[in-house]
Amino acid sequence: MARTGFFKDHVLPILTVVLAILIVWHVFVVILNAPFEYDQAARAGTPTSFMEVLPKTFAQERPVLPAPHQVVAELWDTTIDKPITSKRSLVYHAWITLSATLLGFAIGTVLGIVLAVGIVHNRAMDRSLMPWVIASQTIPILAIAPMIIVVLNSIGIAGLLPKALISTYLSFFPIVVGMVKGLRSPEQIHLDLMRTYNASGAQVFWKLRWPASMPYLFTSLKIAIAISLVGAIVGELPTGAVAGLGARLLSGSYYGQTIQIWAALFMAAGLAAILVGIVGMAHSQVLKRMGARP
């Protein structure tokens, strides 16, 4: 009973959507790739029919839109068949990007929490800092990413850290906004209670504000980890990086390797899903330990 319910409520809707996407995808493979085949036939001077073109649209070397099976084959080839130390292994590139993502996410989380604590506890910081935090996010990341890399390179910092800092630049924002809200979430009555006990500021923070902010923190962390990954990939794009998913996307577009681009895109999406999933599991674990209603 419960199992059929699970299948009906959770698996079936997802499968339906996946199936719909696959159908639309196949249709567009034919529509987008067929003109190239007709061109080829016209140049060779051989008349061709739709039924002859159809199978060819699924087997082009540089299709406008690769067929799903081509992307899967490429993913398989570059993850399972290649040793992960190889420069052609997608796992290797994903790891490069992941390490920058995680470092940037960690720095962004700490920075975001520290700023939020300052903003909540200090009026001057509240007034002066919050507008800048918001303004920082109005600058296009693509514009500022090369600047960060160039500036840091000139003072001798290269490699992982500059990319991670671009992730930090994106990920600290949702943490600040979420934590400011979370640290201010305790009701007046809960704060009054602390006052009747003559509790110190540190006690109010650790025993009330911090635990009360946990749901807000984890919601922010989910957003932050996803955009950290975006930041790391974007950090690799305009900077001529030689490794990482961003570099893979870039070299793919240089050489018209659409299959490679799509494989890297799917790798990035899968990575994002796993990262968000891990944060989500941590979220429910923490809430469970905090006695949340199941």
Binding site: I189, L193, M194, R195, T196, N198, K207, M290, G291, R293
Partner: protein, 263 residues
């Protein structure tokens, strides 16, 4: 029937005027009152009569703008820092991420009690409010009445002699409220604390109190102070006796007079 002559709270011509955008609002004016050790004093009146404000001034949660007040011979701030009182709010205000026993442990943690003493006090106060065995539950697993009892246990845990209660049973249904009133009287008899109790229910005020302070709004002030003549032993049935009804009548008259004055 004062149990002793020692004064716990003394207010003289106490007043509080809030500055709002619509001009000053007088929440409380000219309140002079002595609360003696061991008293059970109820403050009754319609909304806006300043009964909660008065309680919050005693607790140093609001600052008076006129008159003088002392708590245990000290200023309210000194008394608060000396942890002279336990406060029970309108809502239970339990921290949802703490179990009941951890909630009761909260003031003990803040005040630096040893873990052995914490354990002993948690068990003792849980027994006092009839919640033994519920220590490991989370607040949401308990009914509203049980939650409010847990919040009373929390206020009792650090043995302050003064208990300030702001409409603690206001949100509960009448059957639960009757039951909790009965338990509160037993608890008061057992612990000999001084209790200040804010309510808007006449039967509740008369049933519980040794003294009833009747207040009226605009501006908030005291219109009558009634010494209860009821015996200390009070079964729930006492509410049908002529003596009880007479006191209730006087409270009602006091409330009514306040309203006529308003017109």
């Amino acid at each position: 029937m004062p149990l002793s002559n020692e004064t716990v709270v003394r207010a003289e011509e106490l007043g509080l005027t809030f500055q709002t955008n619509d001009g000053p609002v007088t929440a409380l004016t000219g309140v002079s009152l002595d609360i003696r050790k061991g008293d059970f004093v109820s403050f009754i009146g319609p909304s806006g009569c300043g009964k909660t404000t008065f309680l919050r001034i005693i607790a140093d949660l609001e600052q008076p703008t006129a008159g003088r007040i002392s708590v245990n011979g000290m200023t309210p701030e000194q008394a608060r820092k000396a942890r002279a009182y336990g406060y029970v709010f309108q809502a239970a205000a339990l921290y949802p991420w703490r179990t009941i026993e951890k909630n009761i442990a909260l003031p003990l943690e803040i005040m630096g009690f040893s873990s052995a003493e914490k354990k002993e006090r948690i068990e003792r106060t849980l027994a006092l409010v009839n919640l033994s065995g519920f220590g490991k539950k989370y607040p949401w697993q308990l009914s509203g009445g049980m939650q409010q009892r847990a919040s009373i246990a929390r206020a009792l845990a650090f043995d302050a002699d003064l208990l300030l209660m702001d409409e603690p049973f206001g949100a509960l249904d009448e059957i639960v409220r009757d039951h909790l009133n009965e338990q509160l009287l037993k608890l008061w008899a057992a612990t000999r604390k001084t209790i200040c109790f804010v309510t808007h229910s006449i039967p509740e005020a008369v049933y519980l109190s040794t003294r009833i302070v009747v207040m009226s709004p605009r501006p908030g002030r005291v219109t009558d102070v009634i010494e209860s003549t009821l015996p200390k032993e009070r079964p729930l049935g006492i509410r049908d006796t002529p003596e009880f009804l007479e006191i209730a009548h006087r409270v009602r008259e006091g409330l009514h007079a306040g309203h006529i004055h308003e017109d």
